[in-house]
Symmetry: C2
Subunit: 214 residues, 2 copies
DNA sequence: CCTATATTGTTAAAAAAATAACAACAGAGG
DNA sequence: CCTCTGTTGTTATTTTTTTAACAATATAGG
């Protein structure tokens, strides 16, 4: 539960969805050496109206200053804290197919404090390999590993058919969140959060925008 | 522009976002041999209230029958048509890194009528290779290829720094849509649609749900 | 030190989306 | 043929989200 000035407040999901984008652009501004920015300018960059931006940010605190704007670095750090990036996340990947290997090689996550500890697969030809410094283990050891290594996020990159099985195992072992790339709507106990990356859905939406009609 | 009974109607974006999920689950039901389904049952499956489901579908036509429900196959085909899947899409991929190779190997898209014709990269070691039946060409030939082969979708899987450049080239060559995996908000002329897959944003949202607080 | 300018935080209004309610109708059973 | 049940399409209501408005206040300049 989120608290602000002692009171519990519910953050609208629409706001939550925009936070990562804000954070990403603030990082770029910081890199460029921009010190301060107004809600009008920043809104233009992220594609959001200035009042909406201010309202969004004020769910979490008063980061701006009248007549001045927002200090980029301060806001960047504040949002990082809001999203919980400060507290490091330990992750495991399940499924070392093409997509899994792409995820292993992705540098973006590490940069933001997400630590991929190891990977699991059922294929004996993959088990034992080390890819980009990440060891591939037998999926039979999943539960023990998670318990022993303070893992809180599991990444699912297995085929559709086995995704729910893997999810069950992850939940049982005690992960707090699942990042799911299988085209399935996982059923998990409600203490566990799931974030889906249903890539094909994005492609279908694109198709609709290009060609859809009645 | 979408038309219904002669009148032009604007489909709410919230509805559009849900269509691919409906289509996916209808496909599964069809495979299972389910013939008919009520909005209540189907809503439960896709995680949407029954009235919302009916309202969503009725933006595009009256597919149901009172006292009976919806014919699964009919609805499946209707939604496919709504989303423009019937008309085949020809796609090119730009960027044959880890993610690009994963996309080449993905079977999901082909199954739904999306045809990946070829891939492009700037790296001479990749150019000329054939991966999973997809030939990798020099990016210098991008524009000509797109014009010659009736390509309407470009997939961007290049690093952040070159993504906008690639997008410009794709637009110039005449694609109608861009499926973007680079963590950048592309600027394109408004006749071209962009669908972003900003994977890291999903991970950050997950982090927020797990650990976020103030 | 005072005034003008810029820009916030917050409250109010408008728009969009989700939920609820219900009349209309098809099909089953008697 | 009539009644009852189930389920839709559609309209009304509520909730959520976005946009607009503005008083409050920090900074800069004289």
């Amino acid at each position: 539960m989120i608290h602000k000035e002692g009171k519990a407040v519910v953050i609208p999901t629409a706001v939550i969805k925009r936070l990562p984008k804000y954070h990403r652009h603030l990082g770029k501004l910081l890199k460029k050496g921009v010190e301060k920015i107004s809600s009008r300018e920043f809104g233009e960059i992220v594609g959001v109206s200035a009042p909406q931006l201010r309202q969004d940010l004020n769910h979490f605190g008063n980061f701006g200053q009248q007549g001045y704007g927002y200090n980029v670095e301060k806001l960047y750090n504040a949002l990082a804290k809001v999203m919980g990036i400060e507290k490091k996340s330990n992750m495991v990947l399940v499924g070392v197919g093409n997509l899994g290997q792409a995820l292993i090689s992705a540098t973006d996550f590490k940069r933001r404090g997400f630590n991929l500890c190891t990977a699991f697969d059922i294929n004996p030809r993959l088990v034992g390999m080390t890819i980009n410094g990440i060891k591939v283990r037998d999926i039979a050891n999943l539960e023990q590993y998670i318990k022993d290594n303070d893992i809180n996020i599991g990444i699912i990159a297995v085929p559709e058919e086995t995704a729910q099985d893997v999810a069950d195992k992850l939940v049982l072992a005690g992960v707090k969140g699942i990042w799911n790339f299988a085209p399935v709507d996982l059923k998990v106990s409600k203490e566990v959060s799931v974030e889906n990356e249903h890539l094909t859905e994005g492609l279908l939406r694109l198709s609709f925008k290009i060609k859809g009609e009645i």
